[in-house]
């Protein structure tokens, strides 16, 4: 029963969606490899092309990779929480004046 609910929670749809998107991007790029290589290696302002491309691919293919591992059941089985760093503030000792008895002769 528990196994079934775990499996249904796995993001198969998202994995397929991002997998197809990633595949489409790769097919598009490699089927136009001549044009891509001609323009992506022109240098100067054209430097934006390869940099932007790797950002797009890393988002789409990265999302696919993440969903793939989730679907395969390889993931963090423990929930990540925001860290609470230990207080490292130093303790400053202040002089504490104490009342003293003074004899006035």
């Amino acid at each position: 029963m528990m196994k079934d609910s775990e499996q249904s929670a796995r993001p198969i749809g998202k994995m397929v969606l991002f997998g197809l998107l990633s595949l489409a991007l790769y097919v598009f790029l490699f089927s136009n490899a001549d044009w891509v290589m001609r323009n992506f290696t022109r240098g100067g302002a054209y430097a934006a092309l390869p940099i932007a491309t790797v950002f797009v691919f890393s988002f789409v293919h990265g999302a696919f990779a993440s969903y793939l591992w989730s679907v395969l059941g390889i993931g963090v089985t423990r929930r990540p929480v925001v860290p609470k760093a230990r207080e490292t503030r130093r303790v400053v000792r202040r002089p504490r004046p104490r009342p003293r008895l003074r004899v006035e002769a």
Binding site: T41, P80, R86
Partner: protein, 366 residues
């Protein structure tokens, strides 16, 4: 400039074997990088060159795959609460200075002693740094393993944290309060090494652990931030000169984005000293690999006489041992993950990013 670049650089034709090779090395390299923060890409440059890719294009295409891989890995590990963004950015700033100095030293050696002198300098730096640092990391990991697997802050880091030299910075995730000036040498050395052997993390991660005082988990995750910043800057530089072969970059990325996330997941499944163990092992095997390249440099400088057959054998041995380093690292990670997966049903969470009772960032799913 445009036309000049197009005429002088020859981009290779890709076949199925080359595509599979790039994907596989990308995956294994990504796995190692996601786990120890760096060190996954050092096989790719010589690997691409062995496919016929010109050296500059191999370096540029490799670097262009490194920064998105580091971005994805850093994001994944940030979600697990392992990344100290402030530490990463402070380190990246001083590393950028180190890279510039490292490049100038390289240029001076190249103009004084030629290519052979430059290669000898790189190989010697590889061997000396990796044997010294890698040996120390490996020994420390073994010691922790024998003592039950609990990592403690290094005595050097504890002493340095007591030095009140303004401005003092508090790195929240790393749970460290240290003078800004004491972080500079670590970042600077990381950049210097990155400019020399192209893997700055081999000094950046141990530096953050033993000098600054971060845990292995935080140091290896934070190194990905440094790799992203430095990789992005380097890639823009290469792209402006038209040196990036985007086909090679994307093929490597196809494998490495799968690997880097698996490596990141792996860090949540194992004890912290395993990160040190994997890192130390890889560093020591790579040191052996680079030691095999030294005789060739000495022959070219007329300082040694060795037969061409022996040199060829050493050259092949050097590349093979680099591949072995990466494979051994990947197998150690997968083995540790498998072991953890098998026993995880009964055990408590193992990952403890902080030291000395700092709260664990991973807790059981409700």
């Amino acid at each position: 400039m445009d036309g000049g670049v197009q005429e002088t650089i020859k981009f290779i034709d890709l076949n199925l074997a080359a595509i599979l090779f790039l994907f596989a090395v990308g995956f294994i390299g990504g796995l190692v990088s996601g786990f120890i923060g760096s060190g996954g890409a050092f096989v790719l440059t010589p690997g691409m060159m062995s496919l016929g890719v010109p050296g500059a294009v191999a370096v540029a295409s490799n670097m262009c795959h490194k920064f998105p891989k580091a971005l994805v890995g850093a994001y994944k590990r940030y979600k697990y609460g392992q990344v100290d963004l402030k530490l990463g950015l402070v380190m990246a700033g001083s590393a950028a200075i180190g890279v510039q100095v490292g490049i100038r030293i390289q240029r001076w050696i190249l103009s004084t002693w030629g290519q052979a002198g430059s290669d000898l300098y790189v190989s010697m730096a590889f061997v000396l740094v990796l044997v010294a640092v890698g040996g120390y990391v490996f020994r420390d990991a073994r010691k922790i393993s024998r003592q039950g697997g609990e990592e403690k802050r290094s005595p050097l880091a504890q002493r340095l944290q007591k030095i009140e030299l303004p401005p003092m910075i508090h790195f929240k995730t790393a749970n460290v309060r240290i003078s800004f000036w004491l972080t500079l040498p670590v970042g600077f050395a990381t950049g210097m090494l990155a400019a020399t052997i192209a893997v700055g993390g081999f000094i950046g991660v141990p530096g953050m652990i033993y000098v600054i005082g971060a845990s292995s988990l935080v140091a290896s995750a934070t190194e990905l931030v440094i790799a992203f910043v430095m990789g992005l800057a380097g890639s823009i530089n290469w792209a402006i000169h038209g040196m990036i072969d985007i086909r090679l970059t994307l093929l490597i990325l196809a494998g490495s984005l799968l690997g880097v996330q698996l490596g990141a997941i792996g860090t949540t499944m194992v004890r912290q000293h395993v990160i040190k163990l994997v890192m130390g092992t890889i560093m020591l095997i790579v040191a052996v690999s680079r030691a095999m390249a030294i005789p060739d440099c000495l022959v070219r400088l007329n300082l040694l006489s060795v037969s061409p057959g022996t040199l060829e054998l050493l050259s092949k041995g050097s590349f093979v041992s680099m591949c072995i380093a990466l494979t051994v690292g990947a197998l150690m990670i997968l083995g540790a993950m498998w072991k953890s997966k098998v026993s995880s049903a009964k055990e408590e969470p193992l990952a403890q990013p902080g030291y000395n009772g700092a709260p664990s960032r991973i807790e059981s799913t409700p």
